[in-house]
Symmetry: C2
Subunit: 752 residues, 2 copies
């Protein structure tokens, strides 16, 4: 079996970079001064030992963030970033995550390290055993576990190229065993580049501490490792299984999972299953937290690990397999304990490996980030560029603890800066970002089925729901959304149910529409395209319209759509009611773009000031849009006798637009508590008449003091099957209404 040749085969090459990934990342919760948190795991995260994304590891303060399995590194990092955002915002503003593998200063008395308060008692017992066996301090070390699986296509293609091994499962196992042994042999290279635990904080070492900084305490004998009497061979799957079973039997390990190798072979619940089922993937456990990446690991590192595993598959291993692994342990211990600013004693070997890897990448047509090899070579040339080197150098001026604290504060700030955004998903619609946030927090598994289309699969235990655009679900019927999509049909149905809607007609023909002028001319009326977008093609006639103006309006509207509505104009204020499952969850009032005078600043300055609100941005990626200062705004000012540099008096409201769309700089104001119940009932009953469950319905109300039952007290303009949720969640003024969360509770009533 010539694996080197096989990798270059054209059936194999296309699949080399296809793989499945998963990351687990531990980290300690600390307060804003960098002290270990004294609080419990945040209650906003559903307190569930089995939470798919955010759990506790050894201690109550040790958060473990877990990504789902992904098929690309991009998705992997999207999840990891998003879970970080959720973790941060769930902890609240007074806490943050410690960015280092080595814990912050620990309590003097080891017993003050609180074991995770899990519901499952056997999990607590296991942690008590670990405390006794290794001491609580060591268990406080955090790190990254990187799960990696070659694509099925790749292994299948390799399998097909050879005939020595008949069983596919066995073949897979041999592949993973080879890279595992090679990984254990060469892992000193990872320790050199990405080791990042040079020093420890107070109370980490019980008695002695290290005098000199190193590359990685965590990856040295001082770190998190099994007792030395543990012997497990990786020479074959049989010996691996036999050894681990023996260790458990002898009581050296209390459970199989206590085996803390730098690589764990995965597949099946028990190690014993690996022989029959074959190894499915490997878990690399020797990655220190990267202090310089909020995720604890950078994309470049993850990419390197993938390439390194391909290299290790390609690379010949030593003849004596056990010996080969053991030398690796020795080399790694040496490198781990080197001073972070010195060259490693294996520099020559490292350079050879990197050169071979670079050559392999070319030979196998693998596409990698431009900077990857440049950076690796730079780190070999200059040890102060390695993670340990960088951290140590920064700490020289203050202390490692202070550096860590200021990094944590920076990360904390970023997570709170634009709370409506979900890092990793900012290309998606705002409402979907917020919904993913809520789902992660509630422990609902999220799979993105179509990113551009905002199509998600949500899963809670065995219950699956699909959702698009954050509010299109299995709860609404197809026909109810088609009704809402069609203004004429919506109005007919509401009218037949006794609701007041603006009366009028639909025209599919310019001549007919013009002919109907006489029917509308004596009352205020509106001309609009049947399908409106951002208010284009709408004309309002509040007073007696002339035929000429009517003609213009009709022509304009027909330019936007082949069907045009002419209907009575209703006086009053428009409110958007967000109705969910027969309940009004939020009501918002939208006002046109405006500023309020202070007697000192010009209108232009007031606009600039107002635009500084982080809620404002561009292109619907923020809850509010920037107020523009374009032609339309200038015209509007002119109409009121102002210019850009006018200084309006105190408390004078200056409108810059006629239309109240949030998309043109308008404000959204939550008025849920101010709307009388009878109007809320109208909204609920109207949505129910359409047969809808989720709808944003627009009511014109002339006077909230007048009961809804009064004649013409209200009119219903339209119902929207895809109502913006973010307007209610991040209003300009008033209380936030987390409608996205209500939707999740509606879809998953078992959450309550």
């Amino acid at each position: 079996m010539n694996i080197k040749n096989m990798l270059g085969d054209h059936h194999v090459k296309p699949y080399l970079l296809k793989a499945r990934y998963g990351i687990e990342k531990e980290g300690q919760r600390v307060d804003l001064l960098g002290n270990l948190a004294k609080t419990d795991h945040p209650k906003t995260i559903s307190i569930n030992d089995e939470h798919p994304y955010i759990q506790r590891d050894f201690s109550e303060t040790q958060m473990e963030l877990i990504t789902p399995v992904t098929e690309t590194l991009e998705e992997l990092f999207s999840y990891l970033s998003a879970i970080h955002d959720v973790a941060y915002q769930s902890m609240g503003v007074d806490e943050m995550l410690w960015p280092l593998s080595m814990p912050p200063q620990l309590p003097e008395n080891e017993d003050d390290i609180i074991i995770a308060k899990l519901k499952n008692f056997s999990n607590v017992l296991y942690r008590r055993y670990l405390s006794r066996s290794y001491g609580r301090r060591k268990q406080m070390i955090s790190g990254i576990h990187y799960n990696f699986e070659f694509s099925e296509e790749l292994i299948q293609a390799l399998f097909n190229l050879q005939s020595e091994i008949k069983e596919y499962a066995q073949f897979k196992t041999e592949i993973y065993l080879k890279i595992t042994r090679n990984y254990l042999h060469y892992r000193w290279l990872i320790t050199y580049f990405y080791g990042a635990s040079p020093s420890s904080e107070k109370n980490f070492f019980e008695k002695t501490s290290l005098n000199e900084p190193v590359r990685s305490i965590r990856n040295s004998k001082h770190g998190y490792s099994n007792h030395e009497d543990l012997q497990v061979s990786f020479s074959s799957i049989q010996s691996y299984i036999a050894d681990i079973s023996l260790m458990v039997k002898k009581g050296v390990l209390i459970e199989e999972k206590e085996f803390y190798s730098a690589v764990r072979l995965r597949g099946g619940q028990q190690v014993s299953a690996l022989e029959e089922q074959g190894v499915r993937y490997v878990e690399l456990r020797n990655i220190d937290l990267n202090p310089f990446d909020k995720n604890g690991i950078s994309y470049e590192q993850a990419e390197f690990l993938h390439l390194f595993l391909i290299y290790l598959l390609w690379k010949d291993e030593g003849e004596n397999r056990d010996e080969w692994v053991k030398t690796g342990d020795v080399y790694n211990e040496i490198v781990a304990l080197e001073h972070p600013l010195t060259h490693t004693q294996f520099k020559g070997d490292a350079e050879d490996i990197i050169a071979e890897m670079e050559h392999l990448v070319k030979e196998l047509d693998l596409s990698v980030s431009d900077r990857l090899f440049v950076n690796l070579k730079e780190m070999l040339r200059d040890p102060s560029k390695t993670l340990a080197g960088r951290l140590y150098k920064m700490s020289e001026h203050s202390s490692q603890g202070e550096v860590a604290t200021s990094i944590a504060i920076e990360n904390h700030k970023k997570s709170w800066e634009k709370p409506y955004q979900l890092t990793g998903y900012t290309d998606m619609e705002l409402s979907t970002q917020i919904l993913i946030f809520d789902a992660i927090q509630l422990g609902i598994q999220v799979e993105i089925l179509d990113r551009r289309e905002q199509f998600l699969k949500l899963k809670l235990k065995d219950h699956v729901e699909y959702i698009k655009n954050g509010n299109m679900t299995s709860k609404d019927s197809y026909i109810s959304t088609l009704i809402m999509e069609n203004k004429t049909v919506t109005k007919k149905i509401l009218h037949q149910h006794g609701f007041r809607v603006p009366l009028g007609d639909e025209f599919n023909d310019i001549e007919q529409a013009l002919h109907a002028f006489a029917m509308f001319s004596s009352r205020p009326f509106v001309v609009k395209p049947k399908t409106t977008n951002y208010g284009l093609g709408i004309s309002i006639f509040k007073e007696n319209a002339s035929y000429e103006d009517y003609q213009k309006a009709i022509t304009l509207a027909f330019e936007e759509d082949s069907s045009v509505l002419v209907e009575e104009f209703l006086n009053g204020t428009e409110y958007r009611f967000f109705v969910l499952n027969d309940k009004v969850e939020a009501v918002i009032l939208r006002t046109p773009a405006n500023v309020i005078g202070d007697g000192k600043h010009t209108i232009e300055e007031l606009v600039i000031q107002k635009n500084r609100d982080p809620l404002r941005g561009r292109d619907h990626r923020t809850p509010l849009e920037m107020i523009q200062l374009g032609e339309l705004e200038n015209l509007m000012l002119k109409g009121q006798g102002y210019k850009m540099d006018s200084i309006p008096e105190s408390d004078k409201i200056i409108y810059l637009r006629k239309n109240s769309n949030v998309s043109t700089g308008g404000d959204s104001i939550d008025v849920t508590d101010q709307i009388p119940d009878d109007y809320k009932k109208i909204a609920v009953h109207a949505v129910s008449a359409i047969g809808a469950k989720i709808s944003g319905i627009d009511l014109i109300i002339e006077d909230l003091e007048v009961p809804a039952a009064h004649k013409n007290a209200y009119g219903i303009i339209e119902a929207n099957f895809n109502p913006s949720m973010y307007m209610h969640i991040y209003p300009y003024k008033g209380k936030s209404r987390r409608v996205s969360r209500h939707i999740l509770y509606y879809l998953f009533p078992e959450l309550v």
Copy 2:
């Protein structure tokens, strides 16, 4: 109250032609020879006394077709034509409707006229009473009842212009009383123009018969009228109510509805309610069946009636109201009994009225059909142009009975010519036309909410369902249709549920797509835009593709959509499964446009022959499309070594297209019974995995003999949320599957 001035007011004028209409049309069922049918009311029409569209009147053979209330004459005639089509096809090919008011030849023994076999016994009793009171022969006369209601806006506007009458209901009543008295006075004009019962058939008159033909037996004393001792005054609503009540009390009438005036005042269940509630509309009952219109009344007649009613509202009436009505009776009797080819003795009055009407139309800006007044004047000038005149003249050469029979046969032919089309709705989609047909037949009320959008409201008693495009309903969830709309998401979900789908990737970027070439090149694969229309932009690579061809295919696909799929090509035949509520209702196989040689005709001739099938047409208004003979077809022929004028040998199948779309002339072949159950189960389970209730799902099956459970026995291409239904209902070959009817039974399970 100067009504003449009021009608010209600009608040009134726009609403003069707004009204609500309804028609009831009676007609006798006859066999193809014109003899009264001996069969029962058709069983295909749900046998329900309360059927909203098709009922029995006096006798079992007398069909009454009823339109719903409409707001335009266009809609009125759409319904009326459609109900006729349904009536014809429900009767079956051996029966037709007699086109005359006067019945066909009646049985010698009056008792052989069968009273309608209604379920409700009091309805039967009423008919028995009528038999005794008037004789069964007279009850066999048929006619049109034309229900007319001025628009609310019109009456309201008139009401606002006056102050004499304070109560709105009373005002309405006065309006309708005035037009009623005037109508009764002037109705001889209708009898002149549209009277159409000049002679009777054998056995109509028991003893004597008329020696000479007349204009309208039905509207004369020989027709269908109350006994002469009946006296009802229309001078005020009070006297009207009092008189009718008295007549019922005295036993002159058995029920209020036995009062057969040419006009009936309507509103409220009982006549007594008219005083308080006001008259709501009038029912004009003196319209003979128009033999020359399949509907029994022409659009022009209906339009005339509307104008005539406006004219009667405008026109001053006689001072003595009762006298005014009585003179009308006398005039009408005279005109009814005039010879159909002579001028009427009131010709001068008639000309004056028509001139006044024409003047009024101009003055009030009413738009009417160009030909209306031309035709009216022509009929005054030449009595042989009136309906009675025309019918009489045609009968001179044979007999009225023979003329009626041949007209009926013509109507019958038209109704059966293109059974898939629903007259009055041919602008709508074929599937919607068929569904409306089925709904009418099943007695489900159909309201068209948006004609261009194929949006219907269906109602059975209190149960309302909305439906769009014939198959978008409340039964499907919004998300399931969004899943089907998105091929990538559909495939992911089906794959996750263990179904075989073509594996592949979605690309949103040309570079990425090109880069993936190596992954697909070694197997057959397809390149297609994510959203496909009529197969545009699809390339299939069955053998090893070159990179250049792949590049072309990718470029082509990206011209159609910004997302492109590259996926494995599945070998086999594509079948469309129509799945409804977890059951396969139909399976169709589509074959490319083709002809079969006969050793005699050229390909061109064979195409022309095949295109003669009435199922073939253009633009999706027929179940199949014409086979074209364009560039693509010529190319395809050339590839097989043929030309247009080649004469293929007997039984040789010549394909004119590669693609099997019905839209390019392909054939649809029903294979429902040939598909093994295990494949049907796959289709049902796949649709259920998507969560859909109505779906057309496309399976590629390599060999129907191979069980579906075999590896790669099938592959699922896509699921359609808007599957064509007509393909299954009118296939080119094989059994028709009335899926539209299944959908109605699914929506209204109470129908069973």
